[in-house]
Amino acid sequence: MSNLVATLYQLIEASESSHFRCGIILVSCKDLSVEGLETVKRDLAHNSSKEEAHYAFDQNTQVLSIFLKHQKLSDTHFHALLVKDYLQNANLLAGSLLIASFEECTRATGQLLRSMHHAVMELAGVGEIKLFDPQAEDAGDSAASILLVNHDEAVNEFLSIYLERKGYQVIVANDGVDGVQKYQEMTPDLVITDLNLPIMNGYQMIERIKHSDAERGSKIVILTDKRLEEDVKKSFALGASDYITKPFSPVELAARVKRLIS
């Protein structure tokens, strides 16, 4: 067990009786001396005085870990923003950040902590904040896949983040041709598509998909601002499973997606 994992494990062991919620941030840093780590602790504690945080730095792998007591994933994520900003300004950031939260910190087993440690070292890029999902880690590589075909970048960005948080694997296409191509490459469990798409419109894309893969038959959800009953009728006639108009409730969309995929 690496020093870092051991330290985190000790922290969890020490407070096992309380069964509290906790958040963990792991980040690849440049070399930190003991004094350097103390400065980081002091400055970050000054920036976010509310949270009770414990810091540890692994010299071998150069990973800084921050253990946050009583923090939900959203709070941990927000804390990670502060950490990233601070390390970036102090020119200490060497890689990306990995965050996780446990409903009861005793669920953070040694195995999961080791997986997190490995994952943070393998993360590409600098300054990216990635979520570590302990449940997905337990379930293995069985996440349902969703192909998102929409010309609206804001909707694409939001749904990618939102549905990935829900545990789905999301792939984005910006137009109908791209949508068909990505569908053929990945054959997703579900397609969420707009009807107004450049190059090849939504109807044409659905026809292509249904024609090319009649046996597998992925479920199709229409997410569009077209409200005419003619469009609804045509979409269902082409084989759509659901029809949602914009503006939409993401909670409702997630519920419909869950029903269709399950």
Binding site: S74, H77, F78, I129, A154, F158, F248, S249, P250, E252
Partner: protein, 391 residues
């Protein structure tokens, strides 16, 4: 002494000077625009992770946290733009959380202050922003601004903001009354604006029908065509005798949408009404609603002196299954007026042609065969008559 030539030279210098100044001004504006664009991109990049955080935790119970660090006014405005992009696309808890975040960031306060600006466009921009944030605090100010504004396109921006922010039916009523006071024919747009409110506008629309003001009545009638309300018959029947012809037409259109309002008395009343528009609407509705008991009325109405009434009556007969079709054949056989006969003939031909391509359903197939049988029977009979006359 000034000669015309030297005057022309000075004038040319002046024109050149003005042109150069104009070009400098254009260049400055362009550079300013580029700088603002660059600043926006930098700011969005800086807060990229924060936006991911916002989008990932929109349905959690706790409030969304404010962006880290101290924000400049410009940064606040750029973030506001991004938040509005999201606000427009979502409903439910995600929208609510983003609105609360806007308030927490002080954006609502900022725009409430901008409403007091001397510049009209600053006020309009602030009104738009407050509407996006559904700010209840802004309603009074927005109503005041709407009252003071002249009639141009900006009043609809303000009105839409009021509809989004409205706390009660009273706010919406005030807004509609102020818009209607301009006496412009924009009733449909006002109804569309009312649709932006989160309040139930049904009772408000019904209350407009009891007003003296014909514009308010029209707004009520247009709105109710898509917001059906119960127990409206007494009010609508009073309005059938309105002095305003447009009101009469709209009322009958509304009544003809629902078969419950169409009693024998009403149908007879509308089919014999002095306004041809009303007769025409009623004739069309009989076919659309499939009221085959009124075939005799339609048979009489095909002789109506107004073309639209006759046209709608013939078409409605064609919609009333085999009985209606038989009535059309009877008109072709019995009617002396060649114009009426020709109109019925055209509709019969169209109906038979349409029936040929619509044979998927067994019921439709039977209906088409029956129509064809009656047509052929009528045709043979008329041919016999022709032959008899020839002999």
């Amino acid at each position: 002494m000034e000669t015309p030539l030297s005057f022309a030279v000075y004038f040319l210098y002046f024109i050149c000077g003005v042109t150069v100044l104009g070009l400098i001004l254009l260049l400055a504006l362009k550079l300013r625009h580029i700088a603002a664009d660059k600043q926006e991109k930098t700011c969005l990049e800086k807060y990229k992770d924060y936006f991911i955080y916002l989008q990932a935790y929109g349905e959690e119970e706790e409030r969304l946290k404010l962006p880290p660090g101290n924000l400049t006014r410009r940064e606040k405005q750029i973030i506001q733009k991004k938040l509005f992009e999201l606000l427009e696309r979502f409903t439910g808890i995600h929208r609510q959380k983003l609105i609360v975040l806007c308030v927490d960031m002080g954006l609502e306060e900022l725009d409430l202050n901008r409403m007091n600006s001397w510049w009209k466009w600053t006020k309009i921009d602030a009104a738009f922003n407050l509407g996006m944030m559904r700010s209840g605090k802004a309603v009074e100010g927005l109503l005041h601004l709407l009252k003071k504004s002249d009639f141009d396109s900006t009043i609809f921006i303000i009105a839409r903001a009021i509809a989004k922010c409205a706390r009660s039916e009273k706010d919406l009523r005030q807004m509609v009354e102020l818009l209607a006071a301009h006496r412009k024919n924009c009733h449909q747009l006002i109804v569309d604006i009312l649709g932006d409110s989160h309040l139930d506008t049904g009772p408000l629309l019904v209350s407009f029908l009891k007003e003296e003001d014909a514009d308010l009545i029209k707004i009520g009638l247009i709105g109710l065509s898509s917001h059906a309300q119960p127990n409206m018959d007494p009010i609508l029947h009073e309005l059938v005798d309105s002095a305003d012809k447009e009101v009469r037409i709209k009322v009958v259109k509304l009544l003809c949408r629902d078969v419950r309002y169409l009693t024998d008395k009403n149908v007879n009343l509308f089919m014999t009404h002095p306004d041809w528009e009303l007769r025409s609407i009623m004739a069309k509705a009989i076919g659309a609603l499939g009221l085959s008991q009124y075939i005799p009325l339609l048979k009489r109405a095909v002789k109506d002196p107004h073309w639209w009434v006759a046209h709608n009556s013939t078409n409605s007969l064609a919609q009333l299954q085999v009985e209606g079709f038989m009535a059309l054949c009877a008109i072709m056989e019995e009617e002396k007026d060649s114009r009426v006969r020709e109109m019925a003939h055209q509709v019969v031909q169209k109906e038979l042609e349409r029936g040929k391509h619509n044979l998927v359903d067994l019921d439709q197939q039977i209906s088409y065969n029956q129509k064809l049988y009656f047509y052929q029977k009528w045709n043979r009979k008329s041919m016999k008559t022709v032959h008899a006359l020839e002999k």
